[in-house]
């Protein structure tokens, strides 16, 4: 899918916000793709973390907003410990998640979760899921 890079789509305040929330200099990324290669969830991601990072570097807020990557991330920090540029990618994903969640969206509908699963599921699964995927 072509992505338009123009005055209309580039949002410099988005770059600043991602850097502020993550505490990471996303411009350090040189697009090697180690993050996606190491990621255990990447087979189920619609967009590789490297591409999301590139979009963020360019300030393409809308394009980032169309990706599902941050919702599929399990925050396992495999990308973080493997990044050759020392970027804490898990924090970048969290920043992107937060910027979307703070618009009052929920990615998990608690009332629709499978009752049978909930009966056996440990509390830490629910607490962590709701912390990461609900506003």
């Amino acid at each position: 899918m072509p992505i338009e890079i123009s005055e209309k789509t580039v949002k410099s305040e988005f770059i600043e916000k991602v850097m502020e929330l993550s505490g990471q200099n996303i411009q350090d990324c040189f697009q090697c793709g180690t993050c996606g290669g190491a990621c255990p969830m990447s087979g189920h991601m619609d967009t590789m973390p490297r591409r999301v990072m590139r979009m963020a570097q360019l300030g393409l807020e809308e394009a980032v907003g169309k990706t599902e990557t941050c919702w599929t991330c399990a925050s396992c920090h495999t990308c973080t410990v493997n990044c050759p540029r020392g970027i804490d990618m898990a924090r970048v994903m969290e920043a992107i998640r937060q910027l979307r969640l703070r618009r009052n969206v929920d990615m998990v509908e608690v009332s629709k979760l499978d009752e049978e699963v909930l009966r056996e599921l440990p509390q830490i699964a629910m607490v962590s899921c709701f912390r990461k995927l609900t506003s």
Binding site: E120, P122, C129
Partner: protein
């Protein structure tokens, strides 16, 4: 100085098999831990946003409770609690500005600056009890068992709270050898099990869980140990589904490492709470290792 014990929510309900087997084993090894008074949920995951300090308050309050109890160490069993408490602790040690903000917000509490050490049970066993002491108390050695040690994420990542350097962790292998079991190294021992995505993206979580279990089997393991209740769910309780989907060739008995410890120490089988584990876990101990097998729930 005293050592406090932080159980966390899951260990008081769905993972009683982790807590009860651990505390009984420790008692048998001559160590008594004091549970923290008025502990609260740690929040399960560390907050990764720079501006989100409110979610650091819960784990820090737990550490303040330890300070009040006169302890210099908090021991945890659940890997996720370990990660959350240890990272909040580092934040309070290293970030002066955030420490000031959090202490000012919790103005009814003692000021805290990371005085307490957060230690995982495995590290505690190695450093404060010692493998030789464990070995000397083993009454039913697990000889012949080929066990895959599974670490998962939160004991090893990120680096600054890792119980060992990520890469080639050895702690669980040393633990298994002390019980006379054979550790079986396998490639996916530090791969994420899918974690909380079992709720939001179950197909992705099931895929990685299957890869871990099948990888352990293919490496020659006959069972697997772990220390996290969420991993235990993803790896232990989804196996029938994984086999029905053709992603797993056969069942893999999954244990909390403390259950095998209790069995090896010859403790009463009631402390292992196999009623909360997958049925194959107890069956396997009965059939394949009669010397160490408990009578049943």
């Amino acid at each position: 100085m005293k050592v406090s014990y932080y159980p966390g929510c899951t260990l008081k309900t769905k993972a009683r098999n982790l807590e009860e087997s651990a505390l009984a084993s420790l008692r048998a090894l001559g160590v008594e831990l004091e549970e923290l008074e008025r502990w609260n949920c740690c929040g399960a995951v560390h907050s990764l946003s720079e501006d989100d300090l409110i979610h650091q308050v819960a784990p820090i309050r737990d550490l303040v409770r330890a300070l009040e109890q006169g302890s210099d160490t908090v021991v945890t069993l659940c890997s996720m609690c370990y990660n959350t408490l240890a990272r909040a602790n580092r934040l309070m040690r290293e970030d002066e500005v955030k420490r000031g903000t959090i202490n000012a917000f919790m103005d009814e509490e003692k000021d805290y600056s990371g005085e307490v050490e957060v230690v995982h049970f495995l590290t505690f066993l190695r450093d404060r009890v010692g493998w030789e002491a464990v070995r000397s108390k083993v009454k039913k050695p697990l000889s012949g068992m080929q066990v895959a040690p599974y670490y998962g994420c939160t004991l090893l990542r990120p680096r600054d709270v890792a119980i060992e350097a990520p890469g080639q962790p050895a702690l669980m292998g040393e633990f298994l050898r002390a019980l006379d079991a054979e550790p079986v190294d396998f490639a996916d021992k530090t791969l994420c099990c899918g974690s909380y995505q079992i709720l939001a993206h179950p197909e992705a979580a099931l895929d990685v869980s299957a890869s871990i279990l099948q990888g352990a089997l293919d490496a020659g393991a006959d069972s697997l140990i772990l220390s996290c209740p969420l991993c235990e769910y993803n790896l232990g309780k989804t196996q029938k589904k994984l086999m029905a989907l053709g992603k797993l060739s056969r069942e893999v008995p999954v244990y909390y490492f403390t259950q095998l410890l209790a069995v090896a120490l010859g403790l009463d089988d009631a402390v292992c709470r196999f009623d909360l584990s997958d049925a194959s876990a107890l069956e396997f101990l009965k059939c394949r290792h009669p010397a160490g097998a408990p009578a049943g729930p």
